[in-house]
């Protein structure tokens, strides 16, 4: 009787031995993603604060000083330097010493007192779009606010009061936004990479061929390889979540069990992808290159950094082929939005389907090299 899973347990036993023997490499493999998490967790802050600002105040009276104080108090601008000429103002921006230059003309106070429109020039370095956007918005906001204050009679209420409330991440903390998505990328390094290497190593040694003259069948071999790394991937996930929750204080709004359950299909896809890569390459260095074919899209197309809604249509559709897209949705859903299985089961289903498909494809590619059993 043909057993398509032949050799599964034996291979799993052997992989466990390999892992135990090479435990140093394994520990390093586990620590590196955590170090990356720490760097990004501490290092990345997408909130724009303390933008270096240079000021040319030609008015130098109460009104202009008030206005500058309000800018400084906004926390967005850091009034770094006061200059005396237009030329110095421009130089400060061109040299990169300041991102924003503010010029207050000499008649600023006079015009305000006479009830005429007073102008302020805000020059913004456009080379970083998020800094520029934030600087412009805040400058406009303060100007508008100041105008309203002068237009409205004392005690008169604002006609419209817009109140925005930031759900799920009220403090706009960057770690809350980045770390759940980052999990998807970090897990790849202990799953896709490690399985691909472990199979390609057998190709290089010639043991793969040896296995195929035994009753070991492709599916048995691949699953025997996948299961130990699934356990490792799972362990890594727990480490990441622990670090996220208790070092970076990212609150987990949803059910942890839901997250742990929905992580299985993602790890499975990532592992199946590793096995698939291993069927297309002959050496570990080649495997490394191919593994990056999934690593890079997982960063850029999954929505982890760039919102998928802003992508050109072709990349948007492409992002549906990237497993990390679905997992980023799962992690953000559970951790930030408190979503449950009811909302996320489709993501899990897609990932499972992808994983099974890839694994069968990988097994078929192996099979073609030996006689079908």
């Amino acid at each position: 009787m043909a057993n398509v899973f032949g050799g599964f347990k034996a291979v799993m036993y052997k992989e466990a031995l390999h892992l135990r023997r090479d435990s140093v490499a394994l520990v390093i493999g586990l620590i590196v993603p955590l170090a990356q998490l720490a760097v990004l967790g501490f290092g990345i802050d997408t909130n724009v604060r303390h933008v270096a600002t240079v000021v040319l105040d030609e008015d130098r009276r109460q009104e202009s000083r008030d206005f500058l104080n309000r800018l400084a108090n906004s926390d967005t601008f850091y009034l770094k330097q006061y200059v005396r000429s237009d030329r110095e103002l421009h130089e400060a921006v061109v040299s990169g010493k300041a991102r924003v230059a503010i010029e207050i003309p000499p008649d600023f106070s006079d015009r305000l007192r006479k009830g005429r429109t007073a102008q302020i020039l805000v020059l913004v370095d456009g080379s970083d779009s998020s800094v520029a956007g934030q600087a412009i918005n805040v400058a406009f906001g303060i100007g508008l606010d100041e105008s309203l204050r002068r237009v409205l009679a004392p005690g008169q209420a604002m006609p419209i009061d817009v109140r925005a409330q930031l759900l799920f991440n009220p403090d706009s903390r960057s770690p809350n936004f980045f770390l759940p998505g980052l999990t998807a990328v970090l897990l790849l390094s202990v799953t896709t990479f490690l399985t691909a290497f472990s199979i390609v190593r057998e190709k290089e040694r010639g043991t793969l061929e040896q296995l195929f003259v035994t009753p070991v069948r492709p599916l048995g071999l691949l699953l025997g390889k996948i299961v130990p790394y699934l356990a490792i991937g799972y362990f890594e996930l727990c480490l990441i979540l622990t670090l996220m929750r208790w070092v970076f204080f990212v609150p987990i709004h949803g059910n942890l069990i839901t997250l742990l359950v929905l992580s299985i299909p993602y790890l499975f896809v990532a592992l199946a992808f590793g096995t698939f890569i291993s069927t297309t390459v002959q050496s570990q260095s080649e495997a490394m290159q191919k593994a990056f074919l999934i690593f890079i899209p997982s960063i850029f197309f999954s929505g982890y950094i760039f919102p998928r809604e802003n992508m050109p249509a072709i990349f948007y559709w492409f992002s549906f082929l990237v497993p990390a897209t679905f997992y980023v949705d799962i992690t953000r859903g559970v951790i930030l939005r408190g979503a449950g299985l009811k909302e996320l089961w489709k993501d899990g289903l897609v990932l499972t389907a992808m994983g099974v498909g890839l694994l069968l494809l990988a097994a078929r590619r192996f099979q073609r090299k030996s006689i079908n059993a």
């Binding site: 009787m1 043909a2 050799g7 347990k9 034996a10 291979v11 036993y13 052997k14 031995l17 390999h18 023997r21 090479d22 040694r205 010639g206 043991t207 061929e209 040896q210 296995l211 195929f212 003259v213 035994t214 009753p215 070991v216 090299k369 030996s370 006689i371 079908n372 059993a373």
Partner: protein, 319 residues
């Protein structure tokens, strides 16, 4: 009793390239069968077809009476295979390698322990059981690989150049072991480049340019008429300047071919050319003091003669 291995015009093509061309062989149970041929002649490809690693393009191949194409699962349980590179897990110990291969064949607990004990004993690997296989020398690696291939008590063992890169003592010991095992009924299919190993086989096949060109016991092959053409005899020439002698001997009238053989030359000379005439001719070419004696062909002489004839035929008929 069916043959241990039988092929009928078995052929393997990779696109336009024919790696094995209509090869028919028969290996009896308990034989130590030597499979010879130059590198790239198709030896490994034939082994891969017989072990189920490559599908057969045309023809039929049977191992232990089972068709390798239609019954690969059963074939795999009855054969062992040791490839050129020994295929061990070098980061595992001797015992762990054996346990893994045993489990692959479904051996468990008591049975696994017994088989491992037996294999360790046969191969004298007992003192090394907890040594990482990376630390073993070539000869011991080969014994371990053989041990792994023997665990499930295969009826037929395929060994692809088992002695390449092994020291002479280990080589001899391996062959003693093969004969010991063959006396217990295991059939061996061994590829080799060593003539002394070929000489020890019960039966040989010689493959050249994808085709089987000689088949039989070493004695039968040495007696082939291609090896002993009518009207000629094989002589051994001993003289001082071997390389010079090799160049000039072939030019002497009545000498059909000459090959260096250790410190001597082996030449195929017409019967009409007497030993004395040959010595005189050598002296005329500046090689005095040569001695000549008639010999029966060695296995190497036989293969060189057969190969040369096929090469000449290929050149005549344009491949």
């Amino acid at each position: 009793m069916s043959a241990a291995i039988e092929t009928r015009e078995v052929t393997k093509r990779f696109g336009a390239l024919t790696a094995v061309n209509e090869v028919s062989i028969r290996v009896e149970q308990g034989d130590v069968f030597g499979f010879l041929g130059p590198n790239g002649s198709g030896k490994t490809t034939l082994i891969k077809m017989l072990t189920g690693l490559l599908p057969v393009t045309s023809g039929e191949a049977f191992v232990d009476g089972l068709n390798v194409m239609s019954d690969p699962e059963q074939v795999r349980r009855r054969i062992g295979y040791m490839s050129q590179q020994f295929s061990l897990y070098t980061d595992l110990t001797v015992l762990e390698n054996l346990r893994f291969y045993g489990r692959v064949y479904g051996l468990r607990n008591q049975e696994l322990r017994e088989r491992i004990g037996a294999v360790l004993a046969i191969n004298h690997l007992e003192p090394y059981r907890d040594v990482l296989s990376a630390r073993l020398s070539g000869g011991w690696k080969q014994r371990l690989a053989l041990g792994c291939a023997l665990l499930h008590e295969p009826r037929i063992l395929f060994l692809d150049e088992p002695t390449a890169g092994i020291d002479p003592v280990a080589r001899r010991e391996l062959w003693d072991l093969l004969f010991d095992l063959s006396s217990r009924g295991i059939t061996f299919f061994v590829t080799t480049h060593y003539m002394d190993e070929a000489e020890r086989c019960n039966r040989l096949a010689y493959i050249y340019n994808s085709r089987l060109i000689a088949f039989g016991s070493p004695g039968e092959i040495k007696k082939l008429k291609e090896v002993n053409p009518a009207g000629a005899r094989r002589v051994e020439i001993t003289c001082s300047d071997l390389m010079r002698a090799l160049r000039t001997t072939a030019q002497i009238d009545g000498v059909r071919s000459a090959t260096a053989f250790g410190q001597n030359l082996h030449a195929l000379a017409d019967d009409a050319l007497s030993d004395g005439a040959l010595i005189a001719a050598l002296e005329a070419h500046g090689l005095p003091g040569a001695s000549v004696r008639t010999i029966s062909p060695t296995l190497e002489d036989a293969f060189v003669a057969i190969t040369n004839q096929h090469r000449a035929a290929l050149e005549t008929f344009g491949g």
